[in-house]
């Protein structure tokens, strides 16, 4: 396991449990690790090759690159409009040889008061940033209590 990994049942190599925040009070960006070494986001009951789940990986510790992006102007109830989304592929540790680890996420707002999101393009390097509410619970068809509504957006890495 890398320094970024924890286990489901016990404290990980860094001494923190999987539910215990690494950065302040925000929850982990939790991916699952399976017995064959593969990692997926989101976690599944078994891995893509049927291997059992053995631990978690906190994707907050990884940057990634934009695979593709879009700006949606026709958004459903409770979703910001426009909504810029990207598929991001994480840069995993050198020893990782499983399938690509990716996430779909909103692009974060600039934070300069303009209300506009960062510009991104294919290949750009980005990092996750926590948001306590990505979409208004209950505004759409899905039962508010059936899932979590916080999560991670992406912003460009300052290099």
């Amino acid at each position: 396991m890398s320094d970024h990994e924890t286990t489901d049942d016990a404290a990980g190599s860094d001494g923190r449990g999987s539910d215990e925040p690494v950065n302040g009070d925000e929850p982990a960006f939790e991916a699952a690790e399976y017995a064959d070494g593969t990692v997926t986001y989101p976690p599944h009951t078994v891995g893509p090759n049927g291997a059992e789940r053995v631990g978690t990986v906190d994707l907050r510790e990884y940057a990634g690159r934009v695979v593709t992006w879009t700006t949606s102007t026709a958004t459903p109830p409770g979703v910001r409009e426009p909504n810029t989304l990207a598929i991001v592929e994480f840069e995993m540790d050198d020893g990782y040889d499983g399938p690509p680890v990716r996430a779909l996420g909103q692009i974060a707002e600039r934070g300069d008061g303009s209300g506009e999101t960062f510009d991104v393009d294919i290949g750009d390097r980005v990092e996750p940033v926590y948001a306590d509410e990505l979409r208004e619970p209950g505004a759409g068809i899905r039962e508010p209590e059936s899932q979590e509504w916080d999560g991670f957006r992406f912003r460009p890495v300052e290099e």
Binding site: P48, T73, A74, T75, P76, L85, L104, L134, R135
Partner: protein
């Protein structure tokens, strides 16, 4: 295994209809029974393909309602929900019921009532098929299309205009389809100047929201001439169903639809043919980019070359491989549960020589019905009996 024939077919006018889902289903169902020359109580099995009648209009239990409206009791009934590929999954279920010997006469009716909902509401009902980590980000099926279109254009150096030409072609085909929601041509400038919906895709890259229904009647080929005395009917020579990942970003290549590859491999093997033997195809062009992906993943064209086929007119109605002679979902409309049934309806018309002004030279046709963003797929291959 018994080969399965289609001896009755119908579809309603697609578009904005006053009728609700029960009435739409009954309209298509009654017409298909009439086409096959049978009554409701002749049916052993009755299937309804429908994604979300409960969510859209608060009407559940539609197979039983339809059986009563068509006096089909005591036929076995079931609702087939596989999101946008409910129609194709229904074709699979109907084929299976007859091929297995469980039913000697099966009807499938697909239908959906959607237009009373706003675009935002309908989009949300459809997006509810996504995983929670996708749904909370506000993803929609159109935004999956925008994400994939950008990657496809970038990876294969395809011009944006090539996507627009899919819309132009399919609208041109729809002019000759009396059931189509839009019997109207559009030019490329109109497509490329239309409002952005999911960058780089614009309004005319997307199918409309639609009400409608379509129906098919299935029996063993050995008795098909009892229902088609002229001996002119269609036969399902191959059919395959497959799934891909629920979470779209977990696919190895986001520009490949694994369910299309796998389902068509099964269908081709069953039919004993390959993609070069297909004369006409109906593909699930819910978004223009999907016609490229499916035409490649079905093996019609090399990966990354589907756009060139459109540019060169290969997929035009008078081209070497006409695609979406009905106008496709793009022009004909996309009443979710009906679409896969209507695709097969068009291929039945083509291989039996009943397609009127849309007729192309076709002994063998293929329909590919996609649910979600390639999450579930049914590929059906049909041959004419004559």
């Amino acid at each position: 295994m018994e080969r399965v024939a289609i001896v009755g077919a119908s579809m309603t006018r697609f578009g904005q209809r006053d009728a609700w889902v029960r009435e739409l289903l009954a309209e298509a169902g009654a017409a298909a029974l009439d086409d096959a020359g049978v009554d409701g109580d002749d049916l052993d099995h009755l299937y309804v393909s429908n994604m979300a009648s409960g969510e859209f209009e608060g009407q559940t239990g539609v197979p039983n309602a339809l059986a009563h409206d068509l006096a089909a009791q005591p036929a076995y009934t079931a609702r087939i929900d596989q999101t946008s590929s409910s129609g194709g999954a229904g074709v699979y279920a109907a084929w299976q019921s007859v091929a297995s010997g469980a039913s000697d006469l099966t009807m499938l009716v697909g239908g959906e009532k959607m237009t009373h909902r706003t675009t935002a509401e309908a989009t949300d009902v459809i997006a509810s098929l996504t995983h929670p980590v996708e749904y909370k980000q506000g993803v929609t099926l159109p935004s999956f299309a925008g994400l994939t279109a950008r990657l496809y254009l970038d990876t294969y150096d395809a011009p944006r205009e090539s996507l627009g030409k899919v819309a132009v072609k399919n609208h041109k085909n729809g002019v000759d389809n009396p059931h189509a929601q839009f019997q109207k041509e559009v030019d490329l400038d109109t497509v490329l100047d239309s409002p952005i919906v999911a960058d780089p895709l614009r309004l005319y890259d997307f199918c409309p929201i639609t009400d409608g229904s379509a129906a098919l009647v299935f029996c063993p080929e050995s008795v098909a001439e009892e229902y088609a005395p002229d001996g002119n009917y269609a036969v399902i020579s191959g059919i395959g169903g497959a799934t891909d990942t629920h979470v779209v970003h977990e696919r190895a290549d986001p520009t490949t639809m694994g369910g299309v590859v796998d389902s068509s491999d099964i269908a081709y093997e069953m039919a004993g043919i390959g993609p070069d033997d297909v004369d006409v195809a109906e593909l699930h062009d819910m978004f223009t980019i999907l016609e490229f992906l499916q035409s490649e993943d079905l093996g019609f064209f090399e990966k990354g070359k589907g756009w060139k086929a459109v540019e060169e007119g290969v997929t035009d109605r008078d081209g070497d491989l006409p695609i979406n002679t009905s106008g496709g979902l793009k022009s004909k409309g996309h009443p979710l549960g009906a679409s896969g049934v209507a695709q097969v309806y068009e291929i039945v018309q083509q291989v039996t020589g009943d397609a009127g002004p849309r007729q192309v030279e076709a002994d063998t046709g293929l329909a590919c019905n996609v649910g979600g963003f390639g999450n579930c797929v049914t590929t059906t291959i049909l041959e004419g009996s004559q």
